[in-house]
Symmetry: C2
């Protein structure tokens, strides 16, 4: 969708003209009352569900939407019932206007000149998309992590356009530690000699070293200590077998190839997987499976993600803080929200811990709002919001069937 009118931004700057890439699933009903907007987190996109087909009509490999377990026909957010909209945010790198696109004012790629955008700016842009689609009121706005912040912001900026907000694994703002992790990742990117002050496109290079480090740091914070120990532990890397590939396997999947250790048969205790002194004694080679996994995640990310987008999106996270205009009083800040809420958190999420969700619950209850809260006992850390956990899916399904669908 192309927007011809300039969008004024929270920073005081504006974006003159811009595109938002979006996808929809299911049918908008006659009174346009069944729309559900899905907001994405750091590295996701408008492609929330379903698969893509190639020209021969075959399903493209790995083309599943990032929340395909959650959204689709018969799924917890049932597209037989709801009209679901996924939208790529401004400043991202999956088709909406962002740092990789041409700045119409200069005829050059934006690069580092792309204006800083905030959660509030994204919500403003999403509201214009709904205007263009003729949708006045959302049945629900929903997101996890940074996406949950957007859902919360919707209820404050457009209280009369949101009936329900589903806020998963999110927080009312970042802690100092959260900001610290973002800052280290940004420094890794910005100090990469291939970053060129954010204008690397015109130098024909990409700051991949920095992006790899940024992603490795991020990945550590997405997983719980427990799930890392369970899946990787101190297991050494098998030299002849492929490294663990792809993202974290869903619950119940086979364990990674890591268990086929090079130390098998060499005084290895099968039950514990403890190797006996089979080290390479190297500071640069991979010794442990967890190293191999992180390096792979970093390499993969650096191939597809834009460095300037990474900076912008982590900054949007840092800035989000609806209570700041109320002296830090979240209850006063959320008094504007009139939507009904579902909040979900995960016990092992140390990035946005359950206590952060409970802050939002308390602030809503202080305002006598209608709030449902589920704290899911799941081992996967922050990543749990993307995984197929039966209790989590059950809560979302029930909420949509019993509350949103009414």
């Amino acid at each position: 969708m192309h927007f011809r009118d300039a969008l004024p931004l929270q920073s005081g700057a504006s974006i003159r003209a811009y595109d938002l890439r979006y996808e929809t699933y299911g049918q908008l009903n006659a009174d346009k009352s069944n729309a559900v907007l899905i907001c994405h987190a750091l590295n996701a996109s408008h492609h929330v569900a379903g698969v893509y087909l190639d020209q021969a009509g075959q399903v493209k490999a790995k083309s599943e939407g990032w929340w395909d377990t959650m959204i689709g026909p018969g799924k917890p957010v049932d597209t037989n019932q709801f009209f679901v909209i996924g939208v790529n945010n401004l400043g991202s790198c999956f088709g909406s206007t962002g740092p990789m696109q041409i700045n119409p004012d200069t005829g050059e790629v934006y690069g580092a000149d792309f204006p800083v955008v905030t959660v509030q700016d994204w919500v403003s842009a999403q509201a214009r998309l709904l205007d263009a689609l003729g949708i006045q009121t959302l049945a629900a706005v929903m997101g996890g992590s940074l996406g949950g912040m957007q859902a919360l912001a919707w209820t404050l900026q457009y209280p009369d356009r949101v009936r329900h907000a589903v806020v998963v694994a999110s927080a009312p703002n970042l802690t100092a530690e959260n900001i610290a992790f973002n800052e280290v990742a940004r420094r890794a990117i910005v100090t990469d000699p291939d970053f060129h002050g954010g204008h690397f496109y015109r130098h024909g290079v990409l700051p991949k070293r920095g992006l790899r480090i940024a992603r490795m740091i991020g990945h550590i914070t997405y997983l719980s200590d427990d799930v890392m120990n369970e899946k990787f532990g101190r297991q050494l890397r098998a030299p002849t077998l492929p490294a663990v590939r792809g993202s974290l396997p869903p619950e119940g999947a086979a364990p990674p190839a890591a268990r086929q250790s090079r130390t098998r048969g060499r005084n290895l205790d099968d039950q514990h997987g403890y190797p006996s002194q089979a080290f390479k004694y190297s500071t640069q080679d991979v010794e442990f499976e967890i190293e191999s996994y992180l390096r792979y995640q970093g390499d993969k990310f650096a191939e597809y993600f834009d460095a300037n987008t990474y900076l912008l999106i982590t900054r949007a996270l840092d800035y989000f803080d609806p209570a700041s205009e109320y002296g830090g009083d979240l209850s006063r800040a959320l008094a504007q929200a009139t939507a009904k809420f579902l909040l979900v958190s995960f016990t092992t999420d140390w990035r946005f811990a359950p206590a952060r969700s409970r802050e939002i619950v308390k602030a809503l209850l202080d305002n006598q709002r209608d709030v449902t809260y589920a704290e899911i006992d799941a081992p996967h850390g922050h990543d749990a919001f993307l995984l197929d956990d039966a209790r989590y899916m059950g809560v979302i399904r029930s909420y949509f069937q019993r509350k949103v669908a009414l």
Copy 2:
């Protein structure tokens, strides 16, 4: 102290000839029974206590030993009573033989060719230093974090040479998450174009970008989320005042200059320190105090610490795992230890959490060993082991007076 005999290493390599820099405090008694060896962690040295004087006899600024709160006349480890030895480990960069020194085999600086050393290797080298000093048995060996691992290793490698081991804020091995943080830091260093495969000395450059990132990551894991929120929170940086300088101030010190925010008088709630929209809207400038603090810590570290040493010492951490030769059974591994033990952990330490110390306590109790364990309720995270906490100091003082001094 120079050692002419080659030291065989766990890797199979050896170091042909080497120096260990050390300092001593107090007097060795007639029967040489009052020696206490202090083992250091990642970025510390032999200089554990006291200050240095300049040529005019004045105390040099910031020359206090890294455990000066703990060790000295009348302090918890009382140098009026004990003969304390601090030693810089092999591979470190504060005077003992390491990657910055000349390899006698080649006449060139070691650089990346310095052999990988382990906790066990350090203990072997420390034992030779004691031999040279004529000390057969230590009253105590003591260390925090990686230093605690060395103290534990002493009780396994030289059980008859250690009467007491004091193991503070340590762990029986690294978890996958611990290794992951080390690995990201190493990748930041190794992928810095100025690293030159570890032979940057001959190029006249230093991989400071990588060292800065490594230190920033490390620093986050040394602090608790709570203490970061208390000291920095979401406070914006004051543009005209100096950034927060120096390491974490001790308990009770004045809060950082952060509270003098640029937003003072601009709708700032003094109690919460919440700024109101005074952002620069920049992805690269410092916005928050925590960013300024981390950048400063990274810059400072990159000025004095050797990149190859960083790789070596984090690897020594990764490799340490006394249970590995016993199928992961720590109780069996610790059966060799005959020393008496004091273990101390800190409630908010998420790097080496109290549960890790309790694993050691349990394994020692399984062997009917004499163990004292203190879990100190302190807000400072892993860094607490370096700080002056009254209950912590009291426990160490009591242990040395009532157990070690007997």
